[in-house]
């Protein structure tokens, strides 16, 4: 039963993952691959958290057509991104640029890694400094406690 439900649920997910919004004609397969790459990585300005490929919003349709037109004009991927950035700003890029506002975002993983490493090393050093040997007073106390049991 569960297996059936699972496969049914997976079936539901299929069309949304691969909806061909409007079949776009390219004579050149390389251009086509770049087109689908770009509309997957550019963000729809109107709908939050959807890329251009996944949105049926009017502006997403316009922008897909814009990307197609620019590619056919022979523009590079970077030029297409720049064209849209000029009009829509950081919002349209799912991969944020390196700016004063985003440097923390980019450096945080590295900083956190170094921080974690530092904590680990420090802990290790502390453990080495206090060897697990009891002094005579502690030894006597341990003995007393054990005798009680």
């Amino acid at each position: 039963m569960n297996k059936w439900m699972l496969s049914f649920t997976l079936l539901l997910a299929l069309p949304s993952a691969a909806t061909p919004l409007s079949p776009v004609e390219f004579s050149d397969d390389k251009l086509k691959a770049r087109y689908y790459g770009l509309i997957a990585e550019l963000r729809c300005p109107q709908c939050l958290n959807t890329n251009l490929a996944g949105s049926d919003a009017m502006i997403a349709q316009n922008l897909r057509e814009t990307v197609r037109r620019l590619l056919l004009e022979g523009k590079s991927d970077a030029e297409v991104r720049a064209f849209l950035f000029e009009r829509y700003g950081d919002f349209i890029l799912y991969q944020p640029r390196w700016t004063a506002r985003t440097y923390l975002l980019w450096t945080a993983p590295g900083l956190l890694f170094v921080f974690g490493l530092w904590i680990l090393l420090r802990k290790n050093r502390l453990r080495q400094r206090s060897p697990a040997v009891l002094n005579p007073a502690e030894e006597a106390r341990l003995k007393r406690l054990l005798d009680k049991i």
Partner: protein, 179 residues
Amino acid sequence: MAKQSVLVPVLVFAGLVILLGFGFRLSDPSYLPSQKLGEPLPEFRLPNLLDESQWLTQADFLGEPFLLNVWATWCPSCLAEHDALTSIRQQHGVRIMGINYNDDPIKARRWLQDLGDPYDYHVIDAKGTLAVDLGVYGAPETFVVAADGTILYRHVGVVTEAVFEETLASRLLSAADQL
């Protein structure tokens, strides 16, 4: 040592509270500032909605400050703001230019016949090229444009008379003063 190990999670927690508190409060995820403020109107050459044999360019719009309104018949909010635009045109004498966005020109002309036409000019932006050049992300949007074509302000969503008085009017006036 024992004291420190209590302090660390407390500090981390406090840090997260501050970070997330600011992060969620300060940033509206749908906030999309116009990239075009302070820039000239993009160049275009598009047919006049009311006379498709005639072409209009950005030069036809310039001369005094005006409102540039992006509208379409498929856009319910555009219907909602139509009366407000009409009264702004009549009461304040503000020039309004229309961009008929991704629309059917026949439906658009019928809409203007039925509801009245407060616009000075309309261009047909059938493929949204001008809208994309303006950084529009949905209709309705209304720009305040200076006499020389500099984009001064963008309002996203329905224009009401309150919106006009609070945000658009002062910008139009100061643009007019600079003439």
